[in-house]
Amino acid sequence: MSIIVGTDTRLVVSGLTGREGTYHALNNRSYGTNVVAGVTPGKGGQDVEGIPVFNTFRAAVAETGANTAMIFVPARFAADSILEAEDAGIATIIAITEGIPAHDELKVFNVLKRNPDVRLVGPNCPGVLSPGKANVGIIPAQFFKPGNVGVVSRSGTLTYQIGNELARSGFGNSTIVGIGGDPVPGSSFVDVIALFEADPETELIVMSGEIGGSAEEEAAAYIAENVSKPVVAYIAGLTAPPGKTMGHAGAIVSGSSGGGQAKIDALEAVGVRVGRTPTQVAEIAMEILGA
């Protein structure tokens, strides 16, 4: 088993005909992901290397039975595209696009939360990879193999860094989920940790957080009450100065909130072990899994 994406994923790509969309959709397909359709308004009837393109999500779903959407359109069109996917009945929406206005994300979040059957991952995320099963997004799959460590992260490259250290020590992953670095992510740490807790394949959960917001503190409270599996955490941005946005729109220490040390304290208080460097995270994981 895996979470969010797997062998039953039927992927429709919004922005398939764009340069980046084509490149990554074909990459995902060659990994084994079942890419069934693309959506580009006005290009319905065309195809990209055999993948049929539709004008609307509604048509793509009706014709191909797509159940998962990847959003690859530019930021100004992304919120609309996510809402269209939801409207067409897509259950899993993975938004790679970065730079979406915060108010658009707010609107999307509040529309989607009224539909209990839909899950949004991202935006501004690298996607979701279940090694050996499916890859939706831009995670470089060659560094990962199937295994029992679930990873959830706000950062792409940091995920690869931690995942690679684990892989070198012989560990594989059940699923790797990038939830993205924006202020209003569709899925939170809590949402993904709940899925890993219920996933029989996952034996250890690694969460990679960063400064800004309170998602890590909320995860700590959730873990204390609901999670039986071991969790290892990392928090990036401990030494970042307040008031400066560190690359990710969501990574900012504002006033007394969002600081890294408070997040580490909250996690350690509920028994989560926190590595001080990515290497330490891998070492702790190895220790727990008895490598």
């Binding site: 915060a102 690869y160 946005t245």
Partner: protein, 385 residues
């Protein structure tokens, strides 16, 4: 993007938020001309993006042209907590009966705008919230519903505003919400929101933060930017489309991906060093982008050594190595480079760097090892300098 008070007020004015009349001034003469136009008395206000202007002597009442001249001369070029005053806002003096506080913040945790109102204006609101939480009325607005009149009434009654201004305070909050939504703001704070003796409600100060990601919807926002406030390296980086934040230390940092770069800063600090910058070259960084990045990093005179920490996913390490070699040839750096490349095509990257055999470029295999090395090199640079 954080706005100066007067630019924030320019934005609010479009939404009919009640304000006092005023005009900006960059020189003493402009200040006097503005005051003559407005009529005395006026308030001369330093325009800097930091609180505590009044206490620092950056806000003065002036009853005539001589007083304006004297205060403007004193306040222009004044340093207020590290911020130099380049502009003044000359504003009609407002009589104050009560000072309230109003704000709308983008509450990430609740995924909704949070509107706040208090009758304890003019002071630090975090202190009010901590000491007298009941004095701060708050509510979340469903962004799909928007701000309704009942929201305004509820806040006004719960904050305990004077009965005769419940309606105008509610109306003021509605205009502020319209501006918050309409301009893609992520913060809007009015402290103080004043009640005049003749019972008008006026936004006497304005702190506005706009969402840079929404700039495509607001071409006019570009005019609100004060890039002269920015540090020279930050300005140079933004012209080149790089994500760069200047820091206080002496170790230049180059990396890809915001999370990994933040982590790199932490690992350097953990090894006893102090980073000079945050620089995210992004995914798929090409040779020219790398040379441009290195140029920005080295233009900071504090930099004593540079750490390149790259994990190649989409980014190919051999491309990064070529970029570093090109940049080295182009810029002839006098400080040592420590390079740690891992991921896609890393073996090829290491071979390229070894073949180039550049003086003062040190390859390291791990992030921790690279951090230790760059800290050591920055320190030895200090000794020899």
């Amino acid at each position: 993007m954080d706005l100066l008070e007067y630019k924030g007020k320019q934005v609010l004015k479009r939404y009919d938020v009640p304000l006092s009349a005023g005009a900006p001034a960059a020189t003493v003469d402009e200040a006097v001309a503005a005051a003559e136009q407005i009529g005395y008395p006026v308030v001369v206000k330093a325009q800097v993006k930091i609180g505590g202007r009044g206490k620092a002597g950056g806000i003065k009442l002036a009853g005539d042209a001589d007083a304006v001249r004297e205060h403007a001369d004193a306040i222009l070029e004044m340093d207020i907590r590290g911020h130099t005053v380049h502009e003044l806002w000359i504003e009609e003096a407002t009589d104050i009966a009560s000072e309230y506080y109003a704000a709308i913040i983008f509450d990430r945790s609740a995924k909704a705008p949070l509107v706040m109102l208090s009758t304890q204006g003019g002071m630090d609101i975090e202190q009010v919230a901590a000491e007298r939480p009941e004095a701060l009325a708050t509510l979340h607005v469903d962004p799909l519903v928007g701000f309704q009149p009942f929201h305004g009434r509820r806040l006004a009654f719960e904050a305990g505003v004077d009965a005769d201004v419940v309606r105008p305070v509610g109306a003021m909050l509605a205009t502020l919400y319209a501006a918050f939504e309409g301009e893609d703001a992520t913060l809007l704070e009015i402290n103080p929101l004043v009640i005049t003796p003749d019972r008008r409600v006026i936004a006497l100060d304005a702190k506005v933060t706009l969402d840079d990601n929404a700039a495509f919807r607001h071409p006019d926002h570009a005019e609100l930017d004060d890039s002269r406030d920015a540090d020279p390296q930050e300005r140079m980086a933004s012209e080149r489309g790089l994500t760069y934040v200047k820091l206080d230390g002496d170790i230049g940092i180059f990396g890809n991906g915001a999370g990994l770069v933040m982590s790199t800063l932490d690992v350097v600090a953990h090894a006893g060093g102090a980073p000079a910058n945050f620089l995210d070259a992004g995914g798929g960084a090409k040779a020219e982008a790398i040379a441009a990045s290195v140029d920005v990093i080295l233009s900071n005179p504090n930099v004593k050594a540079v750490l390149f920490n790259v994990f190649g996913g989409i980014t190919r390490c051999d491309e990064v190595a070529r970029g570093i070699i090109d940049a080295y040839g182009l810029l002839q750096p006098t400080v040592p480079f420590v390079v740690r490349l891992d991921g896609t095509n890393d073996a090829e990257a290491r071979r390229l760097l070894a073949d180039a055999n550049l003086p003062n470029v040190h390859a390291e295999a791990t992030m921790d090892g690279a951090a230790a090395r760059v800290v050591e090199l920055a320190r030895s640079g200090e000794v020899s300098a």
